[in-house]
């Protein structure tokens, strides 16, 4: 079976800095894969190259048999690649509902002229999209926020709305860039649960970039470890955790192993959801 997403030897240089160097990995249909690594390892750059925000200098990216290397982000989104951003990219001046409806944009069929007329078919289509959006709202438990303006929501909820906008498009693959960054423990648990449920119940492939090791190790099926722009390890969470290269990259020495175990703390709390998955 060929993988849903094939990343082959992609490289990217930013003004003399080798941000990503010959990175290669596959993501299979329905998998939940995490990309981890210290700051500056090039994780976000890899996500940006998959979604078309950066174009690789070398290498290729193939999604479901289509070569998407160097395509425009809006065209890649149309193929079913959804994503969220590290620093939250929402339409801050609009309501939660508008944001999610915009997530349906790729599925809206009416052309420019028909769209301007807002009648008949356009209206029926709008109702259909609204139904999909309502499902997402239920799923993410944000019913009371429908009419709230996004910019005024607390950080944790904004992250959730951003996930919702990506989900509204019913993507085939979801790229999440630090969805739990800056969250407190409860918010992280919620987010981890949503990500697991999307993967489990909707069957959506997930590529997760995340710093919280506890969460990553608990929910991922496979982990890709990057350091200084290169992949240094790949495998199941257990394998990766035991890999000396990984320990070195993270902790810079052999004393690291102990501290590594200490990092697991936050992740233990979501063991319940992992158990359910198993």
């Amino acid at each position: 079976m060929t993988a849903q997403l094939e990343i082959r030897h992609v490289s990217k240089v930013f003004g003399g800095v080798q941000a990503v160097n010959r990175v290669t990995f596959d993501v299979n249909q329905g998998e939940l894969v995490s990309v981890i690594g210290p700051n500056g390892a090039g994780k976000t750059t890899v996500l940006n190259m998959i979604s078309g925000f950066h174009h690789p200098d070398l290498g290729s990216i193939v999604f479901e048999g289509t070569d998407i290397t160097g395509r425009a982000p809006s065209r890649i989104a149309t193929l079913g690649v959804g994503r969220t951003f590290q620093n939250i990219a929402l339409f801050r001046g609009m309501t939660v509902l508008d944001n999610l409806m915009l997530g349906r944009h790729v599925h809206m069929k009416t052309g420019v002229l028909a769209g301007m007329l807002y009648a008949g078919r356009t209206r029926r289509e709008e109702v259909e999209h609204r139904r999909v959006v309502e499902d997402v709202i239920d799923f993410l438990e944000i019913e009371p926020l429908r009419k709230r303006v996004v910019g005024a929501l607390p950080f944790g909820l904004q992250k959730r709305v951003e996930l919702g906008r990506a989900l509204a498009a019913h993507p085939k693959i979801l790229l999440l860039d630090e969805p739990m960054g800056g969250m407190n423990v409860e918010e992280k648990e919620d987010m981890a649960r949503f990500v697991l449920d999307v993967n489990d119940e909707w069957g959506t492939t997930v590529v997760l970039v995340e710093h919280d090791m506890g969460v990553v190790m608990d929910i991922s099926q496979r982990v890709v470890v990057m350091d200084l722009g290169e992949t240094i390890a790949e495998g199941t969470p257990v394998d990766v955790k035991a890999n000396p290269l990984v320990i070195k990259a993270y902790l810079g020495g052999k004393t690291g192993a102990k501290t590594w175990a200490g990092r697991r703390g936050t992740g233990d709390r979501i063991d319940a959801s992992t158990a359910r998955r198993a």
Partner: protein, 311 residues
């Protein structure tokens, strides 16, 4: 004491004693105001969707009017000339996206602004090269005559212009608020990155806003042109649109409309009733002084977004 009387009482006495004349002045102000609004609207559309302050909007008005007159002089009937002018403005939008915006993508706003200054000079020269630089009369079939309603003189040309402007504004408002393209336009205005991530193509959106701004420019060009002839001074309309934008807020469609009306009505009333006190010419500076006052006390304008940085 007599000065206070002349400033605060006499003008209102004048208004009350000749109500029909007062209404005429008011209508004249509304007409001028709608014209300012139309030009300001062109700015707002482009600024909202791309964050670019389009210095060339005034020249686009001139260019649209020149094209229309030029086509009519060559024998095209009004409807045909109008359709062709729309086509020219849409083609211009494509050209601007391809030749100006795309090469400058991800540049600083100031660079894009400079590019529109270049565009301004180019269009001015190009328009005059194509159609000539002399003042042209634009006759769209509506006579510049007045008729009386309840003792008030109403100008036919101004009335039809005002109705057209109002319709255009209403259509644009519905387009922005109700349609999928309108929602996509607002989304792009809000966050480029997020818009791209959900599959909204920036290039298409830019072409659409520049085309719409071009069509708005046609409307403004036709109305001013029919009133005072098509000439270079049309491009100076952009200067009057600036205070309108400061009043209304750079990102607000209703703000552009209301701002235009306030300035149009304000300067006409000021000129007629307070003008003699200072020897006239209030019309020329009223808008700018009002804008200055707004900059001091409410810099975001009536409807603009207050910029709050969270730290």
């Amino acid at each position: 004491m007599s000065l206070l009387y002349a400033v605060f009482v006499a003008p209102f006495v004048d208004m009350a004693t000749a109500p029909a004349f007062f209404v005429e002045v008011l209508l004249g102000g509304v007409f001028a105001g709608l014209m300012y609004s139309l030009v300001a609207l062109g700015f707002v559309l482009i600024f909202k969707a791309s964050g670019v302050f389009n210095f060339a909007q005034g020249v686009m008005v001139l260019f649209a009017a020149l094209t229309l007159v030029g086509l009519m002089e060559r024998g095209a009937p009004v409807p045909v000339a109008l359709v062709l002018t729309v086509a020219v403005m849409v083609a211009l939008a494509f050209a601007i996206e391809r030749l100006v915006l795309r090469p400058l993508v991800n540049q600083e706003h100031i660079i894009l602004f400079m590019a529109t200054i270049g565009l301004n000079f180019f269009l001015e020269g190009f328009g005059e090269m194509l159609w000539g630089a002399n003042v042209k009369r634009l006759d769209i079939g509506v006579p510049d005559e007045s008729f009386q309603v309840a003792g008030v003189l109403v100008n036919k040309l101004e009335l039809s212009a005002a109705i057209t402007a109002a319709l255009l504004v209403a259509v644009l408002a519905v387009f922005f608020q109700r349609t999928r393209i309108g929602r996509a336009l607002r989304a792009v205005a809000d966050d480029h990155e997020a818009a791209l991530s959900i599959g909204i193509p920036l290039k298409t959106i830019w072409v659409i806003v520049w085309a719409v701004a071009g069509i708005v420019a046609i409307a403004a060009g036709v109305m001013w042109g029919a009133k005072s002839g098509v000439q270079f001074s049309l491009s100076l309309l952009a200067l009057k649109a600036l205070p309108v934008l400061i009043l209304g807020g750079f990102e607000s469609v209703p703000g552009a409309i209301l701002g235009g009306l306030i300035i149009g009505v304000g300067e006409k009333l000021g000129e007629v009733y307070w003008g003699p006190l200072v020897g006239g010419a209030i019309e020329n500076w009223f808008a700018y002084v009002l804008a200055l006052a707004f900059l001091l006390f409410r810099p975001q304008g009536l409807f603009g977004e207050k910029i709050i940085e969270r730290v």
